[in-house]
Symmetry: C2
Subunit: 561 residues, 2 copies
Amino acid sequence: MKDFYPDFIENKPAKKSYRSIFKWGAKDVYKHPNIRMFKMLKEQLNMSDDDFTNILSEGNDVIELKNQEVKISSECVEDIKNIAGVDNVSIDSYDRVKYSHGQTVEEALALRDGEIAETSDIVVHPKNKLIVKEIVAYCNDKNIPVYVYGGGSSVNLGFKPVKGGITLVMKTHMNKVIELNEENQTVTVESGIFGPDYENILNNAKEIYGTKRDYTCGHFPQSFEFSTVGGWIAALGSGQQSSYYGDMYDIVLSQEYVTPKGNFSTIDFPATATGPKINDILKGSEGAFGVCVSATLKIFRYTPENRQRFSFIMPSWEDAVKTTKEISQGEFGNPAMLRISDAEETDVALKLYGVEGTIFDKIMSFKGYKKMERCLLLGHTEGEKGFAKNIKKRVKKIAKRNGGLSLTGYPVKKWEHGRFTDPYLRDSLQDFHITIDTLETSVKWDNIHQIHENVRSLIKKRPETICMTHASHFYPQGTNLYFIFIGKYKTNEEYKEFQKSIIEKICMEGGSLSHHHGVGKMIGPWMKKHLGNEQMEILKTLKKHFDPNNIMNPGGTLGLD
Amino acid sequence: MKDFYPDFIENKPAKKSYRSIFKWGAKDVYKHPNIRMFKMLKEQLNMSDDDFTNILSEGNDVIELKNQEVKISSECVEDIKNIAGVDNVSIDSYDRVKYSHGQTVEEALALRDGEIAETSDIVVHPKNKLIVKEIVAYCNDKNIPVYVYGGGSSVNLGFKPVKGGITLVMKTHMNKVIELNEENQTVTVESGIFGPDYENILNNAKEIYGTKRDYTCGHFPQSFEFSTVGGWIAALGSGQQSSYYGDMYDIVLSQEYVTPKGNFSTIDFPATATGPKINDILKGSEGAFGVCVSATLKIFRYTPENRQRFSFIMPSWEDAVKTTKEISQGEFGNPAMLRISDAEETDVALKLYGVEGTIFDKIMSFKGYKKMERCLLLGHTEGEKGFAKNIKKRVKKIAKRNGGLSLTGYPVKKWEHGRFTDPYLRDSLQDFHITIDTLETSVKWDNIHQIHENVRSLIKKRPETICMTHASHFYPQGTNLYFIFIGKYKTNEEYKEFQKSIIEKICMEGGSLSHHHGVGKMIGPWMKKHLGNEQMEILKTLKKHFDPNNIMNPGGTLGLD
């Protein structure tokens, strides 16, 4: 008898359905747990095959917007149409719901149940920065809230229009490369450009621009395919290769900004000593100060042929942490991608990356790397060939000294293959009432173990809950911890309470409220506690400066209001 | 007959004299031009041997403070004594003059002539941060200006107490290492610690702290020996090895800050996504927001044995620029120190670094590297051995491809030997009425030649004026230009007018107002033009937030008031 495997949904969401809004990514792409992972889930979550036969709320009904009339006067709507062009303005219910929702788990849970949270009244697709300026000025004058939608991948209610008003959708028209400057190794783009479009142009710069070389943007967050440059900057994203290329904070040289207070471009010098840097003050402001309409970013030579891959199984999490710390502090340059999974995640990763059941699996066991103790370390390098090779050599030495066993570059290739597709798992699991979500934090080397243990133990205290953790962005001074927690919840409220308890725990243990997801309205309530009153007041002063009438992303962003 | 060589002053400045204040560095250390440089100066500045026989204003009179009574009431002075301790408060004339002057050329010129600019009324040497807090709170209450003196090496009237009040001298007591955290590779120091004390402790960490390794701070500005960590942060300094270690902006992880508005410590995570970074907002605020009492900084492994040195003579400035651009964009890691001198500076450098007259000189000429065309490129690497060696290998390849001739590591060693002593030349030249000063700017690769040519040609338009230029801090996107201009001026006014015309030119040509000297009160007047009104208003808003009564470094700092 063949093992049971669920009949996962693979059809496209129905047109104008709830599902078409909450489903991650491309509408016709799905990713399901493989058979090994399915079995693990069943066991860990105490589920039976039967639990995987009925799908209760697929969310394929056509959305219905009740009691949410457009609250903005029809004169205003006409004005906006006059500014932005009638084709670029919509008060259609579906559009309003679509552009009011991101990828926060609680949003998906609600939409599945046919519940619609606050929406904006008008959706506007600005054609260019002049229109953005006019709209922001108009809204400031009329006190109409303005929310900015980049790619819509926020996982913390980043652009949720809790006060109604207008949502500016940047991806529709404002998605062009403005200039590629090979001399300076910079590119200037409109903020609504998507990751793949941006990267494709850079990868083919020779052909498209007649440059001497091809380039890469160096920034590959997991949301890469469905997020925009503007969103990366607004929420301070980090790419999966940030240990070499830097975080988005490091990559942005200058921005053109539209605010209720005025419009300006910061200067794109690589460094200056002319007082506090305005460009940096804007980064991470999550739409609460204004709208980034374009940005100038560093680009990097595109040399995939130089990439060196490595993976190791380490005896324990302590050994894995020690190894990555030594790598990050080794002063031989950083691997671009580097990640370590704790024991529970390693167990799943070995299933996902095709190691379980292979000869490597046998060798690991034979050599005494114990299940639920051993930890996976993956990495690859970028940059010039000799540089990249030297890194691999040093990494090998350090990993072996700390008890590592090489698993070759194979699992890394598997990881690279699936690097952007894991988020698709969320919907497949949710179809069977399993909720997967993530929270992440920055840690220092001297508090990583405390935070890992204590946050993990809070999560594991809940019965039948999986907690997988990895660190994936490295600095000489520390790294991040990324907690993935999987469970079944009776109600959305139960889920949200649990999520809150984890955020609270991270905050209490001294982790940062976010390493690269941003804060949004979901984590905003903890900001004052995290930063302290004095520092919150600085952010509030800046907010008031740029946006005295509080029209930009109002309603809790960064805990500002 | 032996060639004439001037009888340069070598005696210690007289006690309590003007000279004891304006003289750079250690009181018993002098550095004079060598015979070759002396001859060059004489020729270029159209001077005779006779001009080098009479010293007009040595500045060795005891200072006299006329018409500058202490304007603060004696009750206030008593209050300050009660807060800071009577031994740590001075209203002595000499102290007031001393701690009111930095190393700006116009200050030295005035002091030589017995002219004393504005001074603060009281000099306070705070024992600890609690006293700083009390004093700032007291001064905020009474509207007394507060100026902060770190090491006193500002070259742009950074802490000049133009409004009188109190000068806090941080170096006297607040100069300790608070904690060395080897796990995180960080150190926390009081802001008044001097470079050498700081570096010595790190270099001997194993012995002092029982760490596993010795460390380096990685930040070596030319003022290193006489500047403090607090000053480095306040003015956004860059060390001579910044191309590898980063600028001070990159090195500071967190700060403890005292402001009229309140006191707080930023959080020392290596990265976060929790809104605009308060730590970065404080950097470069030049004492106008508050007082940095301590800071946590990145430290680096101390491995001088790995250093690889290289130098090349390049056919032209264009070739030198191209070479360093290719190095900086080569993605094999950056040399720590890298510098290129333009043709005029090369001419002097070859004299200074002992190349002129050697076999190398002959080879250069034989191979066609022409005087006043050829340009010197110097560099050395830091970091892990394999990493460092690979950089040297790549650099060699790039330099040779661009027509470079290796001059070995010898000139680099000479440069290293004199790296901190060149500023001593200023006083020796000034003794014979020759004024040497510097202005510097950030440039991008696509405007480096325009800025270099046009600023240089403005300087050279003045008769009998030497202009030497180098670039010494490198990024993939650009570098800096450092203009050294030497001339004779009839009056201080004439000098100041000339200096202003250069700043104006840099600004007009699109260079940054400063790459690493900071802005101070000297360049403040250009800030609005440089940043634009909108961005100046952001800085002013922050200023008002932290310091509503404008007591912190008032009188033109950063162009804020």
